[in-house]
Symmetry: C2
Subunit: 524 residues, 2 copies
């Protein structure tokens, strides 16, 4: 799959730093220090309001005189006003930094960026410490409300971990936390609420209300983040409870809000979200089309870690499995992308039929019985990490079929809502681990993804992180985010008879309607 | 003198509290809590941006549900955005309060106002604790820069005193400091800087630069004020180093920025400032027309305290002095207004001549010698507080003549700058103690104030406090303040030959040009 290039490392700086050379005060020009600087910035930024925090105002006259009124300014925009976060000497080119954070439910990734050049300085990722109370969002929401200080505990554990990594990233990059002027943060709606210490409890009860959609700009100090005294934190807006800031960041990174052609974005992380649209309109849905389906789709993106099989092919000559293991070690499991590859190749080699059932006559000696089900040995016992054979059983395949059918049904439903068919899409963005690992060819073969040209599939990588980073180096991103959140419409996917009919039709490989998958040459 | 009625106690509430009844969320209307409230407020306030601080955002969902989505909101405007400071139940009519502060160099006056009704709850005044390092502004500026923590000490002493009075005013009014959502604060440029902890040192050195002109809005917590967690502090803007926020507040209170006719405002406090203008334009000058003149003018407003003679007349029958003492006790001195009265009556009774010299033939037995100068006994020794006669000596009268001449010269000069003569003014506002105590008839008689109809003279009282209070109850004040500061032009009064010629002409009673004072019937 084509990976989308990250803008942040290569783009020319057009971010949040401005350098101004002021005329020093004189009897003929004796305006105040603050006005002198603000007026120059207003002209430069075409705004009528520049806000200066009290702490900076106290330092400002000394700093202006120290650097002879030639200053580098770290700024951020908040609506029509600009906020002056800090000033430095115009000659100082290595001070101001920004931090982009992908606030994942499972993993958190933080990236330190030089604000002047837009260059990536360092990156770190770590487990979300809130996992200690539960791996899923629901258990955290319950924890936040049940215990007296549950919400504050969850918030504190996360902020503490982020702070530790701010210190560490700064140390590794020759910066200080006080240099961090901007923090750009994208997460799902629950994570954004928990990070801000805002109760998410009403999101899981009818009528499913988040406290905020556009949290806006906060002071880093209000969030207890270790950063510049005037640092601002931008939490990506969400669109309701289901379309989080991480998805908005993904849309920003993919550039869907800047393109005329209609594209689709799939983000399969802890949750699964789908967005279809262009610069004019956007429709989003979450994979919450019944818990069973959701769990199935979600599973596809999981477990892509060291020691896990992420690629499978069948050797045409020997009929044996060729596997790739992440980290090149003896395998201990198989992840979603590996499973999809496996199913595709089993199908192409007629070892499973169109319903995903193992075909004993074609499976040969690898077929066995495992707990009452047919099972296929993928890796022999002497080649696995734990010395046990790695098998795939019929229930695993059945589960995969349900997952892929759910995914295709969601894609079919949402594209139909906007008057398209899945095959009409010319651009198909796949975010996250799911996008990074799956082979679209295999996913098409089993009928999980539509039968588009392979060029149409673009892997976004960590689109949440990339979107958050983009904001640090491209100031136009702020307007784009506003446009995205204004245009996006969330649709609830009703699991009605029509949906279930589509789902049933999609439970075949690749589909009951083979004309939808002309490129797939498997058994009829 | 006609006193100007205070708007704050009588005006209908049109301040910073709005009550909204929201439709509770439903499946059909599942916008976020923050958006639900913001959207209603945006519509009500005709704005596109309502800011909610993080601390309030955390409380908001609970409070909305406690009061069934019918909320009273304390708000303030900051440019085009509105800030939601706190919410309360719509049924709660006695919570939100505002504090107006006149930040005088000598005295500080604080007034607690009910934000909903605009009603004054209580008032307190106290000595500015910074007086311990010096009574005048200059000594405080020096203290702020000389000592290591001088600035912080000065700031802290003042804030501590204000906090003590916030607690006290709240206690006396059945409120809590947490109810105080807005603080409106007016002081001269130096006091504003010291209160904010911003170094004023560059204001007293060429080219005389303040750090800020429009300090804007701060959080009360940033200024260490004991108030609502989200409370905002508005520090009245200054126009350069000499026209302080107290003057701007005075202009607001007088209504000069709302009136078509050209008026003049004199504020004689620790400094003396004069503003002339109307809703279209304004010109201001400070009485810093040479230190000697300034001191002279300034002295007029001083010492109006208990035990001091503030009114003097001469009994036409007996020729004896009729005095009024503040607090009705034996006198221990005479203040500016008393001195002006005295000089006027001495002149009308030919006991001083047009140069202010005591006329021995008309002074009778009260005339004596005092330290080499002629002196007149005003109160006999047995009727004074200290048992010594209260006398006025020729040097005192000479000093008064110089003061009144300086005042008139300044008034004449600034009115001429705007193309008028002093007598063309139809409205003449006199602020502060000076305005509260002087008899304009006497001031006209000695040629200190122009010979206008007595109706033209309006005493503004504590115009700084009244202006600060007005902002708490009249939200349009904010635009008016912006207009005032945009329109005001500061002019430096050059003590040139022309100025000195005017000054010499004004050193006669009432003036060398008697045609300027047709109502004065004293000796030729």
């Amino acid at each position: 799959m084509t990976p989308l290039a990250s803008d942040t490392s290569s783009a020319p700086a057009s971010g949040w730093v401005e350098t101004v050379h002021l005329r020093p005060p004189s009897l003929d020009d004796n305006t105040s220090d603050a006005d002198r600087l603000s007026d120059a910035l207003k002209k430069r930024l075409n705004t009528d309001r520049v806000r200066i925090d009290l702490a900076l105002l106290r330092r400002l006259p000394f700093q202006l005189r120290t650097c002879a009124f030639a200053v580098r300014c770290a700024l951020f925009r908040d609506g029509s006003r600009w906020i002056l976060i800090d000033v430095s000497a115009a000659t100082d080119s290595v001070r101001f930094a920004g931090l982009a954070v992908d606030l994942g439910t499972t993993r958190v990734v933080a990236r330190l960026v030089d604000l002047l050049s837009g260059r990536v300085l360092n990156e770190a990722s770590f487990d979300n410490p809130q996992r200690s109370v539960g791996s899923d969002i629901l258990s955290r929401i319950h924890y936040a409300e049940k215990t007296g200080h549950g919400l504050e505990q969850l918030r504190h554990s996360l902020v503490t971990a982020v702070n530790r990594h701010i210190r560490d990233l700064c140390r590794r990059s020759g910066r200080r936390p006080a240099d961090v002027c901007l923090v750009s943060l994208a997460g799902n709606t629950t994570m954004s609420h928990l990070f801000a210490g805002v109760a998410p409890r009403w999101m899981i009860r009818e009528p499913y209300i988040p406290v905020f959609n556009r949290p806006g700009l906060f002071r880093a100090s209000d969030l207890d983040l270790e950063a510049n005294a005037g640092a601002r934190v931008y939490i990506f807006p969400n669109s309701g409870s289901y379309v989080g800031g991480d998805v908005v960041a993904g849309i920003l990174h993919a550039g869907m809000g800047r393109a005329p052609e209609t594209a689709l974005l799939v983000d399969v992380g802890t949750n699964a979200e789908v967005v279809v649209g262009n610069q004019e309109w956007m429709v989003a849905c979450a994979g919450a089309a019944g818990p069973a389906l959701e769990q199935g789709v979600t599973r596809m993106g999981m477990m892509a870690e060291s020691g896990v099989i992420d690629r499978v092919a069948i050797d045409p000559a020997s009929g044996g499995f060729r596997i790739h293991v992440i980290g090149d070690q003896p395998p201990r499991g198989i992840c979603g992308s590996g499973l999809i590859d496996l199913a595709a190749h089993l199908f192409l080699n007629k070892m499973i039929d169109i319903r995903g059932r193992l075909v004993p006559s074609n499976c040969g000696p690898r077929l066995r019985e495992d707990g009452g089900s047919a099972a296929l040995e993928i890796v022999a016992a002497d080649q696995t990490a734990d010395g046990k054979p790695l098998v795939i059983a019929q229930p695993d395949l059945d589960s995969l079929i349900r997952s892929k059918a759910a995914m295709y049904t969601i894609l079919e439903t949402i594209t139909e809502i906007v008057g398209l068919r899945p095959r009409d899409l010319t651009r198909f963005y796949v975010a996250g681990t799911f996008g990074a690992f799956i082979d679209p060819r295999s996913a098409i073969t089993i009928g999980m993804l539509p039968d588009l040209s392979l060029n149409a599939y673009v892997s976004l990588g960590n689109s949440s992180l990339e979107g958050a980073s983009r904001l640090l180096s491209q100031r136009e991103s702020l307007e784009e985010i506003d446009r995205i959140t204004q245009r996006i419409t969330y649709v609830e996917l009703n699991v009605n008879q029509d949906f279930m009919n589509r789902f049933s039709a999609a439970k075949f490989i690749p589909h009951t309607d083979r004309s939808l998958f002309p490129s797939v040459n498997g058994p009829e």
